[in-house]
Amino acid sequence: MEVGIAGYGAYVPRHRIKVEEIAKVWGTDAPSYKRGLRLQEKSVPSPDQDTITMSVEAARHALARSGTDPGRLGAVYVGSESHPYAVKPSGTVVAEAVGATPEVHCADFEFACKAGTEGMFVGLSLVRSGDVESALAIGADTSQGAPGDALEYSASAGAAAFVMARENLVAVCEHTHAYMTDTPDFWRREYQHYPRHAGRFTGEPAYFNHVLSCARGLMEKSGTTPDDFRWAVFHQPNGKFPLRAAKELGFPREKVDQGLLCPMIGNTYSGSSPMGLTAVLDVAAPGDRILMVSYGSGAGSDGFIWRVEERIREVQDLAPKTRDQIEDHPLYLDYGTYAKFRGKILRAAE
């Protein structure tokens, strides 16, 4: 039985801050940051936005494309590392808002930036096993970068949602693969406000080890090579890592560009590769194969091979496209307003 994506959608907040604006406050060299990390600007959530609000909007887009009756969703999973509550799921609000309650499974996922893709894997599996008719899986984050830290240039906000089902598919999931080890490259201890990372250790032993191993394992088990794919989407902590991963695996640049959103909106963490996938689906044609590999610090990668179906053409225009949202009248902030929006500066208590 084939299972896969029946509907997909993303949500991009409208506010932005440019690399230069952050660099000028901390005295770093903006042009070299932009060149080195291939980043121009990032998305900023306004104070009334969070993982839950973006997940609801992305889910609405996905349901508009899938045409699913939300009451028939059997599971709702939200993966994030910035859930608004430490205890009380994001998923319950999303499920209530889209009309999936009350007969529905729900829990939140956490695995740094791959929380969303783990939810996608589990959703697919529940559909495949017949335990549910359809499942909603979302990756969303409003990640925080510590002021003055390198990650401040890229930590951004966004969401992507997928309705997994066995009918009316726009993309079939042909294969999945996982590659995961206990690798302390990036973490946040309880009660700490900002995460910490291990500098250059986040490269080779972390991102590249897991992304490349997962991709190779996926292609090996499916008997495929880069030539079999029209598109490739990788986790995008900056604009550079995914291009290097693509190169090392043998994927030409033009297969990666459509799904590469980081230069314009930064690293949306649990939204990262899922949003890249939505940008590809927005333009994909029936028969296209997509290789997708996420990465979550801690560390692990989820790999998927998607085969686009005929029905994709019927749904692409049913909700706002991802790149259209990115380009739709972005609102630029100065650093002070950005710091206020992100809660880095607070009004003095009365």
């Binding site: 409208r14 506010h15 306004s46 104070p47 009334d48 936005q49 969070d50 839950i52 609000t53 609801v56 909007e57 609405r60 608004p84 509550y85 609000v93 209530e96 808002a97 009309g99 739709d328 009248h329 609102l331 206020k340 009004r347």
Partner: protein, 133 residues
């Protein structure tokens, strides 16, 4: 302070925009109520609000009530939705001073308020400008 019960009771309206259409005269009430204000009927059927409408009027709140101080200045407007319903809500994602009566706006899910740093988060609706084609 909003509190759990009060916020939870309103979720069908705040999250899903559920309204009630009087089966007698067709008038749509948001939120639903017990007696139709047009025809005094007491029978209703469930309906939901359309998501896009027109700005009937607005203001920019500069002196905010408690809990909203950090958001000021922000725009609040009355939006006319298809079906004859008018709704009061914040208008966000834009310069409040650039709003004009007649602007097209659409509903978006946002965090409307919260009970301090440790209380519940209250989600609901706000409007954002409809731009472009």
């Amino acid at each position: 302070m909003i509190g759990s019960a009060r916020n939870w009771r309103e979720t069908p309206q705040r999250y899903r925009y559920e309204a009630a259409r009087c089966t007698g005269c067709g008038h749509v009430h948001f939120p639903p109520r017990t007696v139709c204000r047009k025809c005094r009927g007491r029978e209703f059927e469930k309906t939901t609000l359309a998501r896009e409408g027109t700005l009937e009027t607005y203001t920019v709140i500069r002196v905010a009530p408690s809990g909203f101080t950090d958001q000021a200045p922000y725009a609040v407007g009355i939006v006319a939705l298809p079906g004859g319903v008018k709704v009061t809500a914040q208008i966000v994602d834009g310069n409040p001073e650039e709003l004009a009566i007649g602007d097209r706006v659409k509903l978006e899910f946002r965090r409307v308020r919260q009970d301090g740093a440790a209380g519940i988060l209250c989600y609901g609706y706000k409007f954002v400008p409809v731009r472009g084609g």
